[in-house]
Symmetry: C2
Subunit: 192 residues, 2 copies
DNA sequence: TTGACAAGAGAACAAATGTTCTCTATAATG
DNA sequence: CATTATAGAGAACATTTGTTCTCTTGTCAA
């Protein structure tokens, strides 16, 4: 089994997974690779398992790993950007899994307004909000101020809770009665 | 079929998919729901298909939709943050699919240094880099300057190409001979 | 009480599943 | 040349797959 054709098979497998969000059956593999023998395909699959692209659970069920569906993570910018030839991977990972700890309590919002500009959050950014987290001082939260939802820093000065924008234009907000927090911002995403 | 138990089944299905990255078989569904009849399970599955959590391809193969594996997207912050009761979803989507157009040419890097601070990119951020894109003026690129990789704006003044940091501390860089570009930054991610 | 309805058990079915063989043709190596 | 290794074809297999039935039970409303 040459290295080149293995890479080609790996590529096709990844493409299949992206398209159907599941691993192919042997019959589909046969069509994918133009090979009729299930025996040969079984060897292919075993190779994928050896390379950790796939893990087998009880009953021969196949489970993909981040090596198959994840994004390639290189080191830091300054550490260098390897060429295609080098390909020094640090890790592979899924953005969904990396950014979202509690999928059932997590939402995404589009940012409008400039109240968090000094925190590097600008209009058009998307923020990922975790509803299940309890805000800590310094956290950015989605808060309801006068019936309107905004992004603010959650502050706590000796037990007295208030909100602060990351923009000197806006004054601090000291809630008179109750403060409604929609969730804690756990991630900010900007797409160019 | 009561609404409450349907929601419970939906939740378990989503959990199963997150864990195994594939949809369960009928036997696994039976264990999941504590029901022995395949006939009943078949009705469950049909309900999932009706609700667009799942799509059936030829041969009864099941394909999950973003409604099943995606993140919930609400409107903008100012537009309001619906309560759990309201749940006004705008969309569901996968971050992987949303952020990454060319998975095979896309990498992730950790940012170090302060050269792009005015662009809202700070140390510790992660940038997603597309190697296959051709840089346009104004794009942020991963560039090799004097054997070191850095983030810079890609500039073009009347045919003359140069690099500019988003930080007044650093001067423009006019490459004498050749400019090596590692890729174009398509997204920035900050995790708190 | 009666009737209508829905949920689940259980059985039956053809088709597809993954695995393990043997055998042949080809390529690589001495 | 002879030898060894490798890839694929093809067949056989025990399971498991999804689908479609019938039958029983329980629930709710009239």
């Amino acid at each position: 089994m040459s290295q080149k054709t293995y890479e080609a098979r790996k590529f096709k497998l990844i493409q299949f997974y992206r398209k159907f969000r599941r691993l192919p059956t042997y019959e589909e593999l046969a069509e994918l690779y133009g090979v009729k023998s299930k025996g040969s395909l079984h060897k292919y699959v075993q190779k994928f398992v050896d390379e950790d692209l796939i893990v087998k659970s009880e009953g021969g069920k196949l489970i993909p790993t981040t090596k198959l569906y994840g994004l390639r993570v290189l080191g830091s910018v300054q550490a260098g950007f390897p060429t295609v030839a080098e390909e020094e991977l640090v890790d592979t990972m899924s953005l969904d899994e990396y950014l979202i700890a509690n999928p059932d309590a997590t939402y995404m919002l589009t940012v409008s307004g400039d109240s968090m500009i000094d925190a590097g959050i600008v209009e058009g950014d998307m923020v990922i909000v975790d509803r299940s987290k309890t805000p800590k001082p310094g956290d950015i939260v989605v808060a309801n101020v006068d019936g309107e939802w905004t992004l603010k820093y959650f502050m706590d000065r000796s037990g007295k809770i208030f909100l602060r924008a990351a923009n000197k234009k806006y004054p601090d907000i000291h809630p008179q009665d109750e403060l409604t927090i929609g969730g804690v911002v756990i991630s900010v995403i900007r797409k160019y």
